[in-house]
Symmetry: C2
């Protein structure tokens, strides 16, 4: 399975905000994350970078 972990980058800190992310949908004022378990989170941030081979999605506020 190729789900990823989502991290929020804030200044020097990078914090894990959701594991096992399947879908990522940028919206007007944030990003919607949905995990493979169906959990949803809406984060007021934008996609900063993806590193798919490392299973990482970086968001930045």
């Amino acid at each position: 399975m190729c789900e990823a972990n989502a991290y929020l980058v804030e200044g020097d800190e990078t914090n894990l905000i959701m594991e096992a992310v399947d879908t990522v949908e940028p919206e007007e004022d944030g990003v919607r994350l949905v995990s493979i378990f169906g959990d949803q989170k809406f984060i007021k941030a934008r996609i900063h970078a993806l590193s798919l081979v490392e299973h990482k999605v970086y968001l930045k506020a």
Copy 2:
């Protein structure tokens, strides 16, 4: 390996623009894609959605 295929959504059409994408970096006026082979493409588009379990990155112009 969890690289993905990148697709460009234009109206009703969805076209494959790059296979085996590793990193995706949104920039000022587009998105930089880098494949696991080191190939790079810069696309004047934004990230529309990710479906990581399906290995798909959707961009929209």
